[in-house]
């Protein structure tokens, strides 16, 4: 009886699929995850003539600088990920080497003990 009940509970709690495009909905958040979110600015009506003459060059320069900044942010994020990866691998490699050295040391210690 208990087994049947628990089997029914397992069937009831089978994992459910979140939808075909679940991972696709996450990806845009990954790309922008290092970027601070900024509230959208509310723009008043534009006077194009004045905008062109006074603000357009500055706006273009700001876009270029922002673009370079985004590339730098992305590169730093990738560099950090690579460094973390290398760190994990280094510790893993040292641990494996350490394990094997200790196996040998244990064998030697056992052989050299007076009881052997």
């Amino acid at each position: 009886m208990t087994d049947e009940f628990e089997q029914a509970l397992r069937r009831a709690l089978r994992p459910q699929h979140p939808g075909e495009d679940f991972s696709a909905r996450i990806v845009p958040r990954l790309v922008s995850s290092d970027m601070p979110s900024t509230p959208a600015a509310r723009l008043g009506p534009l006077r194009l003539g004045a905008f062109r003459s006074r603000w357009l060059p500055a706006a273009l320069a700001a876009c270029v600088i922002a673009g370079i900044g985004l590339v730098q942010v992305r590169r730093h994020a990738l560099d950090a990920a690579r460094a973390n990866q290398a760190r994990a691998e280094l510790l893993q490699a040292l641990s494996i080497a350490s394990d094997n050295v200790n196996i040998v040391r244990a064998a030697i210690a056992r052989e050299e003990s007076p009881d052997s």
Binding site: L9, L13, Q16, P18, I26, L30, A81, Q85, E89, Q92
Partner: protein, 211 residues
């Protein structure tokens, strides 16, 4: 040699739960290790493989903890975004699974503590509609799901980790960071609660079960 895929074995100790079963997807342990290594190097396609391998488990835990599909979707997405930021600290595929389960459970419990205690269950039965129609007793199973949703957050997490994720009590204790005896106590009480009121629904199973 440097171009070979990198994969790491499951790490013992407090970094991972080496006895955890493999992820949701059909990917075997070797493929998940490979995907993890490639994701750590920045390959987005590899990270999407990891998402696909674990999305069912993460989303279902979130849904059955938070009850509301929209909240569950948001939490599940948050967990994977957070995973992306913490990839460098994930030592193995088993560790990844442990990390996901622990993160989704803890964040769901935190959200529930901040939320009003009574949240009406969704009326459209979205979860039931999504289930494949192959269960032996859909009525009992729906009833069980509803009863699980009525448990308090911590016992609910324990039940989900036990019967959805198929973890043993020590593994559940490790994921939730609670004493083993507490896990066993939650399991015992929750199962008794779930079982009560199900007797009249369980009869058809007993009668119809050829085994």
């Amino acid at each position: 040699m440097e171009g070979n895929p990198v994969s790491l074995p499951a790490a013992a100790g407090n970094l991972s739960d080496p006895s955890a079963p493999a992820g949701d997807g059909a990917a075997g342990p070797g493929l998940l290790e490979s995907a993890l290594a490639r994701a750590r190097r920045g390959e987005l396609a590899a990270f999407r493989e990891l998402i696909r391998a674990h999305q069912d488990s993460v989303y279902s835990l979130a849904l059955r903890m938070l009850k509301v599909p929209e909240d569950a979707e948001e939490l599940a997405q948050d967990v994977f975004v957070s995973l992306y930021r913490h990839l460098g600290k994930i030592a193995s595929a088993a560790h990844l699974l442990f990390w996901l389960r622990r993160t989704v459970c803890h964040r769901a419990i935190d959200r529930l503590r901040r939320r009003p205690s009574h949240v009406p269950l969704p009326l459209d039965g979205a979860e039931e509609l999504a289930q494949p129609d192959s269960s032996r007793d859909p009525l009992l199973e729906r009833h069980l799901r509803d009863r699980v949703l009525q448990l308090s957050p911590l016992p609910r997490a324990v039940i989900l980790l036990r019967y959805q994720e198929d973890l043993d009590p020590p593994e559940i204790a490790h994921v939730l960071g609670m004493p083993l005896n507490t896990v066993k106590s939650h399991l015992k009480r929750s199962l008794a609660l779930l079982r009560s009121g199900c007797d009249e629904l369980r009869e058809p199973i007993s009668a119809g079960n050829p085994s």
